[in-house]
Amino acid sequence: MSELIDIVLNAGFWAATLRIVSPLIFGTLGELICERAGVLNLGIEGIMTVGAMAGWMWVYQGGDLWGGVIFAAGMGALFGLLHAGFTVYLGLSQHVTGIGITLFASSLSYFVYRMLLPAATTPPKIIPFENIEIPFLSDIPLIGEALFNQSPLTYLALLSVPAVWYVLHRTPLGLAVRMAGENPVAVEAQGIDVLAVRTGAVMAGSALMAVGGAFITMSWFDAFYFGMVNGRGWICVALVIFASWKPGKAMLGAILFAGLEAMQVRAQQTAGAFIPYQFFLMLPYLMSILAMIVMARRAQYPQALLVPFRRGERVLTLKRSRG
């Protein structure tokens, strides 16, 4: 018990938690935006991989770090557009399309990586984001050391939570997005193009997911490894359900997860002799399943999640706008 308290009272633990939580926050917020608009995006795992590869590669090829983040976001949005084209415009199965996007996006990332770096036996490294110490605040013991001495991308992750909340709940655009996920017919009846709103939301959400992936290769680590997203995307999908589609709760859920993972890394060092490390590694996946079980009954699903928008039964009308 006292060991546990030691862990929790250690600034290193909190710093690790914030590092682990950053990609989860980006991914969860991204998925949340898509689902709020009524589109399940199971492409997340692949889109995070794309982000991880694209951002890293940008920097490796001589670009600057922020350029890499923007490039990753753009690539994410592009795959989001692909997902939206299939699920929103053509009304195809969101489940199967998402899995297809994941298969395509991750394999394409690996292919491109190998094309550009055919000979690399050990993964080459870049100089990742450096931590930024916020003056004075970082001097506060424990909290300050952990919270105010972080990668700029972590600050961005934390700031994007209120930003996403504000846009979703306090702006006309956010209202249109939420309405598209609750009752797309209502959106159409008010003269707003549902398909465009959904597509925009999926692209924006996918861009965030890709930034989450980029964090892994550009801030957490400094190289791109195969399989490094390692199911984080799926965990984000579970976290969205756990959070009942609310950005604030999503952040709390992600922090809870990251905290447990940081704790297991530390516990491995002390208890590793008795408990095999694989059991610690299983925890996040098992926790995700548990989180979904706990929230399953209470979850307030967006009413039109998974429901393609079609006008009338006989005819499905797709709108193409000309300026």
Binding site: L42, L82, F86, L90, L92, S93, H95, V96, T97, I99, G100, I101, T102, L103, F104, A105, S106, S107, L108, Y110, F111, R114, M115, P118, N230, G231, W234, I235, V237, A238, I241, P276, Q278, F279, L281, M282, Y285, L286, S288, I289, M292, I293, A296, R297, R314, V315, L316, T317, L318, K319, R320, S321, R322, G323
Partner: protein
């Protein structure tokens, strides 16, 4: 003023068998065209590359045997996915179920049970199927009882099972004779599937998997249970109203689906490796989704679909040895084919009217 034009998509009144079989051909052609961009980028002639791929998969007796060998687990996992998707249960966990089947196979096959070969082999397939089925039962019960989305749970369980395998082959089940390699002991001789042709790896798992495809087709097409599985998939509310026991049907479907994936594990261990390692499956479970989609969930069409994707993998391997194209091209082809088949099935079932 913004002006909108509309494209209309109407369901065709009748979809002929011709059109149905056009869908995968269209999808494969589209996939090859799309991926030719990557081949051109690698500086290789598209025709040469695909010729190499084809030759690598079918060009020699050895290649042919390899292609068939690789198709065995894909037929199993493709069937697993097709059966589940038919009843609108999105089982993305065939990878985990495959490993569960493999675990059961080595647990019982490495000396715990000793039977003559004609009993041992069916027994090993049975325990493999049971392990895969039981593993899938968890997400199924979570879905039917608590409405927990099965896609995420089956996906997450893949990681859990793989970690469990990793623990077992590094720990209690490690073969002390393997000189430190993390792998289990080999299964007993009576549990090894015989090879079908001399010189090569093609094993009797092929017969088992072809039989499985045939049986699943008969089941779906001619039996009351098959009717119920299809009914639940098409319209669960109407099926329930008619008196079909939804929960029972879904549980049976899951046992079938997980069981087929588990049998893929048995067949890989008993037919190919003899023991269990962490690289038993290079993603057969996920490729099974592509197989099932290309086959449009038809059990017999699974066989050519699996052969095709197996050829892609085998051919891509030999192609990348000959020219400078990374083997990941095979995975890209698989990923693109899943997306392409979705669109081409829609194109064959619907009519698009441009203004």
């Amino acid at each position: 003023m913004r002006e909108a034009q509309s494209v209309q998509i109407e369901a065709r009144d009748h979809v002929s068998l011709m059109r149905v079989s056009m869908a995968p051909i269209l999808a494969i052609l589209a996939t090859m065209v799309i991926c030719s961009v990557l081949i051109l980028w690698a500086g290789v002639s598209v025709v040469d590359a695909y010729a190499l791929l084809f030759k690598g998969a079918f060009g020699s007796l050895f290649a042919l045997k390899e292609t068939f060998t690789r198709s065995i687990p894909l037929i199993f996992t493709g069937l697993a996915v097709a059966v589940a998707f038919r009843s609108k249960f999105y089982n993305i966990g065939a990878e985990g179920q495959l490993y569960a089947g493999a675990l059961a196979t080595v647990f019982f096959g490495t000396g715990l049970v000793n039977l003559p070969a004609y009993l041992m082999l069916p027994f090993l397939f049975l325990v493999g199927a049971l392990a895969g089925g039981i593993l899938l039962l968890v997400p199924v019960l979570l879905k039917t009882r608590l409405k927990v989305d099965e896609v995420v749970t089956t996906l997450l369980l893949n990681f859990v099972v793989l970690l469990a395998v990793s623990y077992l082959i590094e720990g209690p089940w490690r073969d002390p004779m393997a000189m430190g390699w993390p792998q289990t002991a080999s299964i007993v001789d009576a549990g090894v599937l015989p090879t079908l042709v001399s010189k090569g790896r093609l094993h009797a798992g092929l017969i088992v998997t072809l039989l499985a495809a045939l049986l699943i087709w008969l089941l779906m097409r001619f039996t009351v249970l098959g009717y119920e599985i299809r009914a639940v998939g098409f319209n669960a509310k109407a099926a329930e109203f008619s008196g079909v026991n939804i929960n029972r049907t879904v549980v049976i479907t899951a046992l079938l689906s997980g069981g087929l994936a588990g049998m893929a594990g048995t067949s890989e261990v008993a037919g190919l490796k003899g023991y269990l390692t962490l690289d038993l499956s290079p993603g057969f479970g996920y490729t099974g989704i592509a197989v099932a989609m290309l086959a449009q969930l038809h059990p017999l069409a699974i066989i050519p679909a699996a052969l095709f994707l197996s050829a892609v993998y085998v051919g891509a391997d030999s192609m990348s040895r000959a020219v400078n194209i990374p083997t990941y091209i095979a995975d890209v082809l698989v990923g693109v084919s899943v997306l392409a088949i979705l669109v081409s099935v829609m194109l064959t079932r619907y009519r698009i009217k441009w203004p």
